[in-house]
């Protein structure tokens, strides 16, 4: 199981104040194949001279990673992997205040809560390396392709938690996570079985 260390600090490289948290769970059910479940919550807030916006919601991804590294011994769990994900989000947004200035005066207004759904696909590459016994650090680089989201007239969906800006059909992202390996050794069991068959 892992926790993404980059999610709380996303506002350092994105517009607005974006933050969140994400956890992941994976298990080597077959040698080098890791089914994965990731889930998180994200918030984005924009506050400019013209608008005050909040978008927030939860997201989940399910998928699988394939490890390209050959284990040098039975306890070697460092991995270099390629993965695929299906992601979806249930979110809401609101515009607390907007302002339009003109010669005829200032127009103020707001839009209440709007709920929406979005889903997308991801492909990724990444590594995980053991730093202490059963504790791992790893990063992924991800390409995300939007499939669809709820269409709304005004304002349109701006932010999809777990994906990024809704207006973009493709986004890039990276994660840097800390993992803890629960010491259930499925690999060991599989290796033993293989050894017996060879003999």
């Amino acid at each position: 199981m892992g926790m993404d260390a980059t999610r709380p600090f996303q506002d350092l490289w994105t517009k607005g104040n974006r933050y969140g948290s994400e956890f992941s769970f994976d298990m080597e059910l077959r040698p080098n194949w890791f089914p994965v479940f990731e889930s998180g919550y994200e918030v984005i807030k924009l506050n400019t001279n013209y608008i005050e916006y909040t978008g927030q919601g939860s997201y989940s991804r399910i998928g699988i990673d394939y490890n390209f590294l050959q284990a040098e011994h039975k306890n070697d769990k460092d991995v270099l992997f390629f993965g695929l994900r299906y992601g979806f989000s249930i979110a809401r947004q609101k515009v607390d205040r907007y302002l339009v200035d003109s010669y005829w005066g200032t127009v103020n207004g707001h839009f209440g809560n709007q709920n929406y759904f979005a889903h997308w696909g991801e492909f990724l590459v990444g590594i995980k390396g053991e730093i202490f016994h059963n504790f791992y650090l790893g990063w992924t680089i991800r390409g995300k392709v939007k499939m669809n989201h709820t269409e709304m007239e005004l304002p349109p969906v701006y932010f999809i938690p777990g994906y990024g800006k809704a207006e973009k059909g493709f986004t890039m992202d990276f994660t840097y996570s800390v993992y803890y390996n629960i010491p259930w050794d499925f690999r060991k069991k599989n290796r033993v079985v293989k050894t017996v068959i060879k003999k």
Binding site: F9, D11, L12, W13, T14, K15, G16, L46, T48, N49, Y50, I51, Y53, Y98, L99, V100, D101, S102, Y103, W104, G105, V107, G109, L137, L154, P155, P156, Y158, F159, Y176
Partner: protein, 152 residues
């Protein structure tokens, strides 16, 4: 771990110049001035004041065309002075709210439905494009009676 700290430092440095938000666009009704007899473009001395407002939009400027902002109400009226002869123009329009971006917010576009005006200096008005958008295309041709001196 050291490389990760370097990455964080770079991102913090980059974040210092990220919060740049543009103003939303504005839609203007574009008016061209023409001589009603010769149909040629003219450049009268123009002053414009929104009816009910105190600040002039344009004051004593020699122009062959002018951009006018419309109000969010269904009608927008201007007092317009062309070479010191005053007229009133009222634009009847539909107002449509538009989304610019979530950083810039919203703006308004308009659809002209009709125009009422007085005839002191204005001869007639032709609507060439009823959609008043952020692209500032010509929307109306304003035909002006020629001055007695024949300057236009």
């Amino acid at each position: 771990m050291k490389r990760f700290l370097y990455l964080i430092c770079i991102l913090i440095a980059a974040s210092g110049c990220k919060e740049v938000f543009e103003a939303p666009p504005q839609s203007f009704l574009k008016v061209s001035f023409l001589n009603s007899s010769t149909k040629a473009t003219i450049s009268p001395k123009v002053s414009v004041l929104g009816v009910g407002l105190e600040n002039m939009w344009v004051k004593d400027s020699v122009l062959k065309e002018i951009l006018l902002p419309l109000s969010v109400n269904d009608a927008t009226s201007y007092l317009i002075s062309l070479d010191a002869k005053n007229d009133t123009i009222t634009f009847i329009h539909e107002t449509i709210q538009k989304y610019a971006s979530m950083e810039s917010g919203f703006y308004f576009e308009y659809k002209l439905q009709s125009i009422d005006f007085t005839n002191n200096r204005i001869d007639s008005i032709l609507i060439t494009d009823s959609l008043v958008t952020k692209k500032w295309n010509e929307n109306i041709k304003l035909y002006v009676h020629p001055l007695p001196s024949g300057n236009n």
